[in-house]
Amino acid sequence: MSDVIRIRDLAWRAGKEFAIRDLSMTVPSGAIYGFLGPNGSGKTTTIRLMLGMLTPADGTIEVLGHAVPKFAHRALARIGYVPERLHLYQSLTVDESIRYHRAFFPGFDDAEAERLRRHFSLREDQPIGRLSKGESGKLMMMLALAQRPELLVLDEPTDGLDPVIRREVLSALVEYVEVQKATVFISSHLVHEQERICDWVGVMDGGRMVAELPMQEFRSGIKRLRVANAPGTMDAAPFALLSREALNPQLDEWVVRGWQPEMREWFGRSGAEVRDVYDLDLEDSFVELLRGARATTIANGAN
């Protein structure tokens, strides 16, 4: 099946500086794609560009086969969007907002909406302005899922929600994905949550994509090595060095990307030895990856 989201060489600026540049991203059909990145890296802006709410300075965006922003409204009919902050009308009640929403989305499933409303314990006559953060989070997710969309775009869907509600929201999302085989794009800084659910990961930093690969590869590919008599030079290293630190005069700690067990030989050739190989969880991998990416940027800038 074709890709659901294809972004190539996207650039955008607010004012003189480019906030986003050379950004390319591919989200395959049926993937649960985790969008990671520190605050201020441009994640929400990228999502807004993806949905046609902002116009790019350069590059192409294609979502569900439609060019964005030109035909964004066609794509949006098949997208369930949950933004970072409540975007619904606070003066409407839950019931009124359901009726409003469903008038715009042809595939809206009334029975599902009702089922989810009960499941999330949302009262029909409650004005949206009176809902707690958790309740409004549930309402936004409920409306998005009731649309039965092919693509879900979620921007920090569980941020600020208490653990119980977070589980409710995630469970509902997982159930939907299993039944509908939809594609999901989740932007979140809750790395461990992303780790459970996502099978693809895209890392953004400073307006650029730093990495994009299957979750398993990302998790297993970044390792921490304890290296004895570490070599000074890095010619033709088969992996990418993200960082190195001397623990003592004889022992280094290296963080590398793209590690395979056979690569021990490379060390052997220069008289070094890999004493230990440790796995990093997604959060540590993410931090190390960013550290490496930023060091490269500085190095390139210095040249």
């Binding site: 997982v174 459970r196 659910i197 996502c198 969880d281 997604l282």
Partner: protein, 127 residues
């Protein structure tokens, strides 16, 4: 039984699920013919990618621990006593390996670990 998985563990999530189920079958916790939760239900309960649950079930089927019947669900297979014993051994081995890796990371030698284990187990037996 379906307590939370640990996303931080180096063991892939599908393996964590599969290992837990394997142990349950080996110990008799899950009897032959019992139906496992649907992919949808288990994925929702654990809040993991449904494909991960499918991967776990497929691995168990490959090892003849379960049967996936189209339309009906996944059922625990009739597993012989020998296989059960083998599984139990394998589970204990995995557990010990994990403990050894963790100990090495903390700078605890195998000898120290063995001594401590001996002390702890004898004191708990006397309780």
């Amino acid at each position: 039984m379906f307590t939370d998985i640990d996303p931080r563990s180096p063991t892939p999530i599908y393996a964590q699920i599969a290992d837990r189920l394997r142990l349950a079958v080996a110990s008799g916790e899950l009897k032959a013919g019992t139906s496992l939760p649907s992919v949808r239900a288990l994925a929702a309960r654990l809040r993991v990618n449904p494909a991960t649950v499918v991967q776990a079930y497929r691995e168990l089927e490959r090892d003849s621990m379960v049967e996936m019947r189209q339309g009906a669900g996944t059922f625990v297979a009739d597993v012989g006593a020998e296989t059960k014993a083998h599984e139990r051994t394998a589970a204990i081995k995995r557990f010990v390996r994990q403990m050894l890796t963790e100990a090495s990371r903390l700078g605890i030698s195998p000898a120290d670990l063995r001594a401590a284990l001996g002390r702890e187990t004898s004191s708990s037996e006397s309780l």
